[in-house]
Subunit: 473 residues, 2 copies
């Protein structure tokens, strides 16, 4: 065997079990990706990027290294998870924690007031990773954002449409996109008599409503967050609601909520969002859910989160709990934090959870026993007898120069059986066999690996024949 | 304007001139890449990856974070350039310095004895970057390597072929690939009476022969490296030689060199390499050059380096001095350094200098005033009158769902002129215009931006028409 066979099937999972004395990688939270994983991830990223490009996004790239001061004060409590470089004199540097803060820094620094961009790259968190749940210290983020001052909810609706398209394209099964608005949530808390100082901590409790029953949420509000049982109950009446346009209309008529300026703005925009999503024909998978809060401080308007719905006939034996697979929202204040004059650039964006989606796809591939090819080789140039290395090299050189993906075994006199076996192992569909008789006749024997069919092709027609046969595969 | 216009033309070069008080990125050696740069780099990387895949390579991915101990002792004096993370208890981590050492660590750790892989990713060096010369602290490396025990020079010849293909495909102008062998170089030094302890330091002086005349090289050997003038002259007789098969034959007959076991092995392999490169038809751009030494300690056999030749009719006014644009060689000992039992895995590889090549391409684009599109949008969905937002949203949704790359302006009632201007600015070739009359007639007006030609297309044929017209572009 040669080539990539050795790496196939190896998982590259981090863990002490694999690391020998001189062989260790960082044991917690980073990992190598062998060819089969990279091939699968490239397929996933290809689908996502195709969607981003379909929506007119450009790509930018920012450094992994940022000034420490750029990152500080942007992630609340999570700032302790920022990886810092050793102080070696000069500027204090850190590894980026996400792609959003560098994006905002980039916009402010370059005075860019509108852009539609995507960025897929690694970010770093000094987390204590629960590797079984698919959390790592180094992982990919995959962001699409629209920055600029535009008419209300048009970019926001496009972000939700993008989530819908990507989850549909990836065929991950049934899903639901929950939407809410920070202003509605704040309005609810205000009309329920919660002081503004408790908004954020109360929201983080509300956010648990998708995992635990209302009684537990209420207990936390009263027991840990110091809300009165009555206030908690008033909140409960709102945050257990979910629905569509009808619910929006109902809340717009709500005697208390309709008096709150923020809530009214939020509800008005939510109505507009639903109208646009109706035109896109995707409201069937959208739920206006008043319990959706999302963790990040910097959201200022609409927020959304996509969750996969449990499959009834899931053929995967041991399904991982994957939680949300995409999320985002509007953050109109972040860019201003980096501008000396505080000039704001409204932004809305979405982050596709490609690490989680990758785990699902990987599990699915394993369950289906689909063999992922790690190379794209179309043809192996083989020889039927000894002493034909020169002929193999001449032929493969012609093929490479014609753009055909081709390999040879790196042996002077390989056995035909070994050459055919290599094709079986690595999924190469065709074999171009040179032999003494073929050379005399000016032909090459083309063998189809799957069917074992063999046909003599005139040398001058070989390239065209390979192209034709591999375009059908 | 909306979309990506704001970023076009900005260079993202690091430098104090751009960085404001709250706006600073690491001032030395890192940089943002705006859309136009990413688009150009994607084009470059696409060409390189296509070649790697044509040769049957798989992709792997290793972490940016490596254990400090993995990197130490692999880069000689350059180890001081390794970026270390802050000690936060637990393992000491560092940012990878190149892709080769992590590759060797990966092979040893996973007991992989053969693989053909490529890896394109960022590496980190705590260098004092001369940004004008295109050196940064964070930059891309682009490596292709073949690991495994194979018949002599077959993978080595393929690596040289790959360099030839890539430089040809990129149309960078005339180039030369210098080849040599560490064993020949060591044999030359041995037969010239140089003690082994001075091999490495003498090699680093020899390596300068492509930039300075022999007299300067000799002076350094004698003045700084402590060689006798006679020994230096004996070396000079060899290292000023360059040629092809004839030179190899001549040296194989050389009374002194042919007595040296290492040199003889190296010359034998060099002869084989030239025979294979002759079969590939590329010896016209190959030069066996005895002054080529290359810096890295870990090379054990054949080494090569590609340089661009100065263009006579270069239309670029201020050509950068780019030095070598690709290089590599055989390193049979590196993997064994990571194996507890020291098991060796022979490796040969090549690194394409994509940062340098990128600088050349960028300069060329600037000189040619070619406008690089940063997006791939095929059609803008526009309206001729007010109050047609709903119709625009319905139409663009249909286009997206059919896989057409489409945008709208994020305004309720944009002026037609502004919509057309947006297409001019961003290079969108087609406009699908909905108007009241068109809606009545069941058609969409398709406008070709370049020619201003307008034609009514029946709504049900629009997608096919857009596909047809954009496949021709």
């Amino acid at each position: 065997a040669q080539g990539n066979g050795g790496a196939r099937g190896r998982r590259g999972r981090a863990g002490p079990c694999r690391a020998g004395a001189q062989l260790s990688v960082p044991r917690q939270g980073t990992r190598d990706h062998p060819p089969a994983q990279v091939a699968l991830r490239d397929r996933l990223v290809g689908t996502v990027v195709a969607c981003f490009k379909r929506h007119g996004a450009a790509a930018i790239d920012t450094p992994v290294l940022e000034l420490r001061e750029t990152l500080m004060g942007k992630y609340g409590d999570n700032s302790k998870l920022i990886y810092e470089l050793q102080d070696q004199g000069g500027e204090l540097l850190a590894l980026r924690y996400d792609l959003t803060v560098p994006f905002a820094r980039y916009l402010a620094m370059n005075k860019i007031t509108n852009i539609k961009r995507y960025h897929i790259a690694k970010v770093y968190r000094r987390d204590n990773p629960a590797t079984t749940r698919g959390r790592y210290r180094e992982f990919y983020q995959c962001d699409f954002d629209i920055a600029g001052q535009f008419d209300p909810m048009l970019p926001d609706a496009e972000c939700v449409k993008i989530v819908h398209e990507i989850l549909s394209d990836l065929q991950l099964g049934d899903f639901l996109i929950k939407v809410n608005d920070r202003r509605i949530l704040n309005g609810v808390l205000a009309v329920c008599g919660i002081p503004e100082s408790k908004f954020i901590t109360t929201c983080s409790t509300i956010d648990k409503l998708d995992k635990v029953p209302w009684e537990d949420v209420k207990n936390e509000m009263v027991g840990e967050k110091g809300l009165s049982p009555e206030a908690a109950d008033r909140i409960g009446e709102y945050v257990q609601l979910h629905g569509g346009l009808d619910l929006i209309e109902q809340l717009l008529q709500d005697p208390k909520l309709s008096q709150n300026k923020l809530a009214k703005e939020g509800l008005g925009d939510m109505k507009l969002l639903f109208e646009y999503l109706t035109l896109f024909g995707i409201t069937g998978k959208i739920s206006f859910d008043l319990s959706l809060a999302r963790g990040l401080d910097y959201y200022t308007g609409v927020i959304y989160e996509a969750v996969l719905l449990q499959q009834q006939n899931d053929h995967v034996e041991d399904p991982v709990s994957v939680g949300s697979v995409a999320g985002g929202g509007r953050y109109d204040g972040l860019v201003g934090m980096f501008d000396p004059k505080g000039r704001k650039v409204p932004c809305v964006g979405v982050s596709i959870g490609i690490e989680r989606i990758f785990s699902i796809l990987e599990q699915r591939v394993e369950a289906s026993e689909e063999k992922i090819r790690t190379t794209e080789t179309q043809v192996l140039v083989a020889s039927a007898q000894k002493k034909l290395l020169e002929e193999r090299l001449k032929l493969i050189s012609e093929l490479w120069d014609a753009g055909i993906k081709a390999e040879i075994l790196y042996k002077k006199n390989p056995k035909l059986l070994n050459q055919l076996q290599y094709c079986e192992d690595t999924g190469i569909p065709l074999v171009a066999i040179v032999g003494e008789q073929e050379l005399k006749d000016g032909v090459v024997k083309l063998r189809v690996v799957a069917t074992r069919e063999e046909v003599n092709i005139r040398r001058e027609n070989l390239i065209e024949e390979i192209r034709m046969r591999t375009s059908q595969l």
